[in-house]
């Protein structure tokens, strides 16, 4: 401001509007008094007259002070912005002057911030964002709980009992799903159908794009021949043609009139193509006893406002207890549970996703430490510039602000580049479709993610900027000019930089350990014997519905005919039908009891039940351990026989031979004729559970999987397989024709996804930490060139110098290793649920981490060491 020129009149403590106004006004009055005295008035009279002429002194004063204060505030604000602009343009200029440094820093940050944003967008989309239903946080699924803790869907009478008897839910709705054949040109198709209760669409807020939903009367028996189409299905199969309303579709052999199409994006928690109305026949009666253990309904409820899960569950238990008393034959010891819909949808991905978010934040921290390191190195090279600016009157606060501005500019540029990384990263993640992680198609870089990214950028900018800013503007500032501009940041700065490198190393070690453990458990998973041979076999599904398949004989006849045709295809070595593929669960669960013995104590009395044709074990490649498999003689009229798996044999016949034993299962007595190896049921990490197989001839199912094993490439037969089935029945769709190996690949997809992402992060962190070590050593070599020169002049060999530099790297790496491994073991708890067959203390992994880290530290120190060894003592000494 202009008045600064008059230093004697300048206010030393900053602007003081009130004081200035007081001075100005009293000056006026005094001048007037002086003039009046000059004109001959007495001093008292003069003062009185002066004040009189002045008028309302107080009002003038306050008005002036108000105006000036407003102006001072405004000026401070615009000055602040002017300085910010100045800092910004200065920062941009400085950064552009050193493009190499800027590129490395921006790249580190873009990688760190971008990866963090990509994973955050997944976490946000999958875990944080609300489900697309109204009051989604109050939606719960109700399940039947058996005494052993297993949970199942509900039966129709139980659903009605809960609907009528609960107190905690606003409303309770249900649907059941099934696969149906839709007849049509040119080929019949399998469609995913869902029968919905009368208020389900309304409770889930599913609107109609075209037509209408179900009317109450359409839920009455005999009235339900109407259907609503899913939006995607409508677009795909009918080209989005509204004229589909009123058309009749033949589904599962029955005609349905299309009455509506769901709005885009309107979906049940389980996707379906066609919807029909649940018809409330006699099974849907809360007093029905017979239908009580036919469990097929997925039941969802919306809790009353302000009702927590505990309340809901105790209410469900109360209803369960009531039903136990009313229906002891069917509901003995059964109860119900309520689980929030979100937990059901994302429950098992929460831990791994949060683990990945944690990992990626570690990467970001490493990137920050790295950039802080670079900034410190640069700040010490800029000591002269800073000292000059300080000498020209810039205060320390101003310099710190300048350096912080540079840091934040860096990180914001990094964030902008990082957003691209995040954009492509999320696209790649979604495209990879890692093992049906729920809701993955909903994710993307959206406003929240962008906001998150810039918040992260500013925080990281301040975080990595503050150390170098404080360090380089501190005491070193005073020293710089004295040192003659040689710009040494001193031992203090070096210690901080070494500390940063140690921190980077430690973080990298944590990530390396984590990814090492995941890789090890992944290898263990692939080593698990799947119990079947996934190579050179395909499977497909046939669902036999409609007029042609009215009874079991017709279905069995069709299966036999299809198998005959498959067997006749060239190169086919075995073929069979089954109701259950490996890695697809356990099929129906039924009670299993040996003879009249009570079940062994503590044993789950349930066994998985599948139906197969005689060649099944040969076709799927599961070895027989004892007894025999089925033959054509185990026919409909023959004695009931079953084969059980090893887990079942161990459970019910520990130390005994199960062959020839009789067991009651699924309501009939059956003879155990064979024991086969355990086949993976859910995923390779899950222990095998009891499984039982019956001949398809003795237990028929409308839906069958046909397995075709060949000598050559099985997919080469895909066309012939379709043609043969089509020749037998043109209305029978061939669905899910896939290689058997795909089951195994799919079951490994999630572990593979988590393992590869964590490994990628660990790799990035390791590379960044390596760059960090490299930077510190290079700088220290440049700083100590003179010392090294003297040492060499005094007779130290190049080898000794290399050893000196490399050993410094080793010391840093070892400290980092120690801290990192301690940290990794501490954090191992988080990882434990994701590990299989390997302990958190796995020596092989820890040993590998040590080797990798030492090796990369050695690699990073190699170039600086070479440079040190190349120091020419003569020239260094001459220079100084």
């Amino acid at each position: 401001m202009a008045w600064k020129r008059w230093s004697p009149f300048r206010r030393p403590l900053g602007p003081d509007p009130a004081g200035d106004v007081e001075d100005e006004l009293s000056f006026h009055v005094e001048m007037r008094v002086r003039d009046l005295i000059k004109q001959g008035e007495s001093p008292e009279r003069a003062r009185q007259l002066a004040l009189q002429r002045f008028g309302d002194y107080e009002t003038s004063r306050t008005e002036c002070v108000e105006i000036d204060e407003r102006r001072t505030r405004q000026m401070a604000r615009s000055e602040w912005f002017a300085e910010l602009r100045q800092d910004l343009s200065y920062a941009v200029r400085t950064l552009r002057r050193t493009p190499g440094f800027t590129a490395v820093a921006v790249a580190s940050l873009a990688l760190g911030i971008g990866a963090t944003s990509a994973i955050f967008s997944v976490v946000h989309g999958v875990l944080l964002e609300a489900l697309p239903y109204p009051a989604a946080e109050r939606l719960y699924e109700v399940r039947t709980v058996y005494p052993d803790g297993t949970e199942y869907p509900l039966s129709a009478p139980d659903f009605m009992s809960i609907r009528e008897g609960n107190r905690a839910f606003e409303r309770v709705e249900a649907f059941s799903t099934g696969t149906f054949t839709l007849l049509g040109d040119p080929e019949p198709k399998e469609v995913r159908g869902a029968s919905v209760s009368d208020g389900l669409f309304e409770m889930l807020g599913l609107g109609m794009a075209v037509g209408r939903g179900f009317r109450p009367e359409e839920h009455q028996p005999g009235q339900g021949a109407v259907s609503v189409l899913g939006h995607d299905f409508w677009r795909r199969e009918f080209g989005g043609d509204p004229a589909v309303i009123g058309r009749t579709l033949t589904v599962g052999g029955d005609p349905y009139t299309v009455i509506g199409v769901l709005a885009p994006g309107a979906e049940l928690p389980q996707a379906a193509d066609m919807f029909t109305a649940i018809t409330y026949d006699s099974a849907f009666s809360a007093s029905n006893e017979a239908a009580r253990r036919g469990e097929f309904l997925q039941v969802f409820g919306r809790a009353r406002p302000a009702t927590d899960a505990t309340t809901l569950n105790s209410d469900m238990r109360r209803v369960g207890t009531t039903l136990q008393a009313s229906f002891p034959r069917t509901n003995e010891r059964l109860t119900f549970s309520a689980t929030s819909l979100r937990d059901i949808i994302v429950g098992d991905v929460r831990t791994p996703l949060l683990m990945l978010l944690g990992a990626v934040i570690f990467v970001l921290l490493v990137a920050c430490a790295n950039v802080a390191n670079l900034l410190m190195a640069r700040a010490s090279a800029r000591q002269d510039e800073l000292a000059v600016r300080a000498a020209l009157g810039a205060g320390r606060g101003r310099l710190v602000r300048q350096l912080l501005t540079e840091a934040v500019v860096l990180s914001i540029v990094g964030a902008v580049v990082g957003l691209f990384v995040a954009y492509w990263g999320t696209r790649a993640l979604v495209a990879a479709q890692p093992a049906d992680i729920p809701r993955l198609d909903e994710i993307g870089v959206n406003g929240t993610v962008v906001l998150f990214t810039f918040a992260v950028a500013i925080i990281t900018g301040l975080a990595f900027g503050v150390l170098p800013a404080m360090g380089s503007t501190g005491t070193a500032l005073m020293g710089a000019i004295r040192e003659g501009g040689r710009g040494g940041s001193g031992a203090g700065g070096h210690r901080v930089r070494s500390g940063l490198v140690v921190a980077e190393m430690a973080l990298a070690v944590v990530l390396l350990t984590g990814s090492g453990l995941l890789i090890r458990s992944f290898i263990e998973l692939t080593r698990v014997n799947p119990g079947f041979q996934p190579e050179r076999a395909v499977s497909f599904r046939m669902t036999m519905q409609g007029d042609r398949y009215q009874n079991g004989a017709a279905i069995r006849g069709q299966v036999a005919a299809v198998l005959d045709r498959m067997r006749a295809l060239p190169g086919v070595t075995a073929t069979a039908a089954t109701t259950l593929l490996p890695l697809s669960g356990r099929g129906a669960l039924v009670d299993f009891a040996v003879g009249n013995e009570p079940p062994p104590p503590g044993v789950n009395a349930e066994i998985g039940f599948a139906s197969i044709t005689p060649d099944y074990f040969k076709a799927v490649g599961t070895p027989l351990i004892r007894g025999r498999t089925f033959t054509a003689a185990d026919d409909t009229g023959a004695p009931l026989v079953v084969v059980i798996n090893r887990a079942g044999a161990q459970q019910w016949f520990p130390g005994r031979d199960p062959i020839g034993q009789r067991a009651v299962a699924s309501g009939a007595e059956r003879e155990i004729v064979g024991v086969v190896a355990d086949v993976l049921q859910r995923n390779p990490g899950a222990a095998p559970l009891a499984q039982m197989y019956a001949p398809l001839a003795q237990r028929t199912s409308r839906s069958a999987r046909i397995i075709v094993r060949t000598a050559g490439d099985p997919l080469a037969l895909a066309g012939s397989i379709r043609a043969e089935v089509h020749a037998l029945d043109p209305n029978l769709p061939v669905a899910e024709l896939n290689p058997l190996g795909q089951l195994l690949t799919k079951s490994m997809a999630r572990p593979r996804f988590y393992t590869s992402l964590l490994s990628l992060f660990a790799g990035v962190a390791l590379a960044l930490a390596g760059i960090g070590i490299f930077g510190v050593l290079s700088y220290s070599v440049a700083q100590r060139a003179r010392e090294i020169g003297i040492r060499m002049a005094l007779g130290a060999g190049a080898g000794g110098v290399v050893r000196m530099i490399v050993s410094r790297a080793m010391i840093l790496a070892s400290i980092g290793l120690g801290i990192g491994i301690a940290l990794a073991i501490g954090l191992g708890r988080v990882l434990r649920s994701q590990l299989f067959g390997v302990s958190v203390f796995d020596p092989a992994t820890l040993g590998g981490v040590v080797l990798v880290l030492i090796a990369s530290a050695a690699l990073a120190s190699w170039l600086p060491a070479r440079r040190a060894a190349a120091v020419d003592p003569a020239s260094v000494l001459r220079e100084h």
């Binding site: 202009a2 008045w3 020129r5 008059w6 009149f9 300048r10 200035d20 106004v21 001075d23 100005e24 006004l25 000056f27 006026h28 005094e30 001048m31 007037r32 002086r34 002429r53 002045f54 008028g55 309302d56 002194y57 009002t59 003038s60 008005e63 002036c64 105006i67 000036d68 407003r70 102006r71």
Partner: protein, 113 residues
């Protein structure tokens, strides 16, 4: 006193201040003296109202202020006309002249036909 000042004169007060400062930088007391002399003390404006007017003009950027020693070597606040202030003075003067001419013409006009 301010209350007795005709409303029409309050807007002209700013114009008078700008005019006073067009002769060179001066402190508030000098501005008051100039107005007093130049108008033959006809404008009975309370001197106190001069200062809020000065500060407002400063806020608008038409004048700037700086502290300096007065003729008797006291700490005084001197006001200087800025470029925009000078332009404003020209505009306001022209406006005033047009307005006054119109007023005179109207007051001297003959009776309505």
């Amino acid at each position: 006193m301010a209350q007795s000042t005709p409303e029409i004169l309050r807007g002209t007060f700013d114009l008078l201040i700008l005019k006073a400062l067009s002769w060179g930088p001066m402190h508030g007391y000098a501005v008051a003296q100039w107005i007093e002399r130049a108008t033959g003390d006809a404008l009975d404006v309370g001197e106190g109202t001069l200062y809020p007017a000065l500060h407002r003009l400063e806020e608008r950027g038409w004048i700037t202020a700086s502290w300096g020693p007065s003729e008797n070597n006291r700490r005084a606040k001197f006001y200087t006309l800025t470029q925009t202030g000078r332009a404003q003075l020209r505009v306001e003067t022209a406006n005033w002249r047009r307005y006054a001419a119109a007023m005179f013409a109207a007051l001297d006009a003959p009776a309505a036909r």
